[in-house]
Chain length 368, copies 2
């Protein structure tokens, strides 16, 4: 089957680019001699997980219980559920662990730490550290850190942080500084816990940009990163990879194409807000790609900087001048996304391609 | 089962508000003595379709082939697929029609009109008219209109338009003017086709705002509208309904809640960009609700104008002052969405509630 035979809109995953991105990250982390616990929240696919785990210890990171259940069922047991746990979700984690999983949870709350410790089948837990993102987590110097560690007792497995503020970085130097704050803050939290007599085996940090640009990871035991596998326009803008490394695109059919008397063109495609997502990450980046960059059916940048400028539920609108798009109705384009995690989540499967050949269909585990 | 027993994040559909919204629209259109062909792109649910069809002729509008197939399989045969058709998609329409469907398609292209007419099992087709939105469609006075009608020949079933520019209206008066342009343009196109000797039985117009605020529908044969069933913050801002009419919310659990020494609070919930969508429709409205308005577990506006201000993949962040949110970790809130169509599409089912009781689970047909 060829790409041009696929129903539209659909998700295309370029296997060669995917492997390139996975290899590039593995190589960077190998230079630092630090292992990777790939974050599967972007790909949500066992097929992608297996590629990302090549040469790594075998543990993964997930963002939902649905992912935890799916990957457990596919034989991956060492899982970090990296969103603050609640009492109710502990029940499901308990069931999955009773069935052979080794799911770890995170918390920054002393009440939840007590509930974990008192649970009949308590999971191992990491304390979430805030190293500047101001989302979840306790600060490395917060007195609450030691109280939570005390409460978790034998269930304390370590500390983790995510310097999400790296997405606001705009140069390798800036991102390296954020990576250093991420590393130093997390290592400092581990040090305080250890000085208070607690074992703190895991010191887990990461985001794709900080993994890519950190000067070093002294004291860190593992890196978490996910979007690097696919890449997207926003990550390209902040220097995680190049635009031509983006492995994930949306295949769309042209459903309208006209040029008015003044030479103003308007091409409609059948990929709109649902197929592309309404993520506008690149709005804050040096270059704003609207709702995505238009590529040709081969995934090449054949139309310069042309973007999807408007996105209705099932219509994308590409405005252009002159005869840029000589594509008939029913012809194809591919759209590179602003934010791969959100675009992929609108689809239930990947059509994996090598050149113009569809070589596999890989399912995704969406929802919660 | 109670709302508080549900897994989070999930989609809550308030049955009483849904019925109120459906009744309100039916009443408005009954006053105009005009039938409704409800647009199922928002709800994508047979259970909702049955309610919306009460007292109506029985035809629906859809936005995807997946919807067309699903509703056909559930016994709704009169379907208008209201996104410009391609040759490839005609094949699937042909199959569904061969199995008993009566799916109609739309086009604004003479090439596609020819392909429809020459098809071995051609569907009936409506010509898409542009009445000011500048998306798809031919202008009412465009010479191409008659050429397309000629090409479609016996397959021509009528004309249709969607005045999507009504979303830019900010008062009932403005929207009524847009509704009149929508009506007049579509009726004019039908008149031109009839004058040229073509039958043009269907004159189909609509959007929820224009259906709500039009002064009249002379010459129109049916209205299409969809989002009115659920409502959302954007539709409330443009006067389609009130905020307290919004029937669709996302149930979320609190996963973090802290107030710093200065009284600045930050509450995290487990509904982020995936569960809420990144739609920011109200950014352009009089009141900007961020990524959604925070309601209590009963769906009441207990927290003033508090909104989800930041949305990460699985985290929503609500910033507040003082002691507004005295909700423990694991406690619940409900988030009213910017744009119901996009928020609903992130979920595969509705938990239908009456008061705090979950009375049904209704599936959705997502994807393409």
């Amino acid at each position: 089957m060829k790409i041009s035979d696929l129903p539209t809109p659909c998700l295309i995953l370029d296997r060669a680019r995917l492997l390139h991105n996975i290899d590039a990250m593995a190589e960077i982390l190998a230079r630092h001699a630090i292992p990777l616990r790939p974050h599967m929240k972007t790909a949500k696919s066992i097929d992608v997980a297996r590629l990302a785990l090549a040469g790594q210890p075998g543990g993964i990171t997930v963002s939902t219980l649905a992912e935890a259940e799916y990957f457990s069922a596919h034989g991956i047991t060492d899982i970090l559920l990296a969103v603050g746990i609640t009492e109710k979700k502990l029940e499901q984690v308990g069931k999955l662990n009773a069935a052979g999983g080794e799911i770890m949870v995170i918390t920054d709350d002393i009440g939840i730490a007590g509930i974990i410790a008192d649970h009949p089948t308590p999971p191992r837990a990491l304390i979430e550290i805030d190293t500047g993102e101001a989302r979840g987590g306790v600060a490395p110097e917060d007195p609450a850190l030691l109280a939570i560690g005390e409460k978790l007792g034998a269930r304390l497995a370590g500390v983790m942080t995510h310097a999400g503020q790296s997405y606001a970085g705009r140069s390798p130097v800036e991102i390296a500084a954020i990576a250093e704050a991420e590393r130093a803050g997390c290592v400092r939290a581990a040090q305080r816990l250890r000085e208070a007599g607690h074992a703190c085996a895991i010191v887990s940090v990461g985001s794709s940009p900080t993994a890519r640009h950190a000067a070093g990871f002294q004291g860190v035991t593992e890196i978490r990163a996910g979007v690097y596998m696919f890449g997207d326009l926003f990550q390209a803008e902040i220097g995680t990879h190049a635009v031509h490394d983006i492995a994930l695109t949306v295949l769309a059919s042209v459903i309208g194409n006209r040029i008015d008397a003044k030479g103003a063109g308007r091409m409609l495609i059948d990929a709109g807000a649902l197929a592309l997502s309404k993520d506008r990450s690149t709005e804050a980046a040096p270059k704003d790609y609207g709702y995505g960059l238009v590529l040709d059916i081969a995934g090449q940048r054949a139309f310069g900087d042309a973007c999807v400028g408007r996105a209705y539920q099932e219509h994308g609108v590409i405005e252009f001048s002159g005869d840029l798009f000589d594509i008939p109705i029913g012809g194809h384009v591919r759209i590179a996304p602003n934010h791969a995690c959100l675009t992929a989540a609108a689809h239930d499967r990947y059509f994996v391609v090598e050149g113009d050949e569809v070589i596999a269909v890989w399912p995704r585990v969406n929802g919660w």
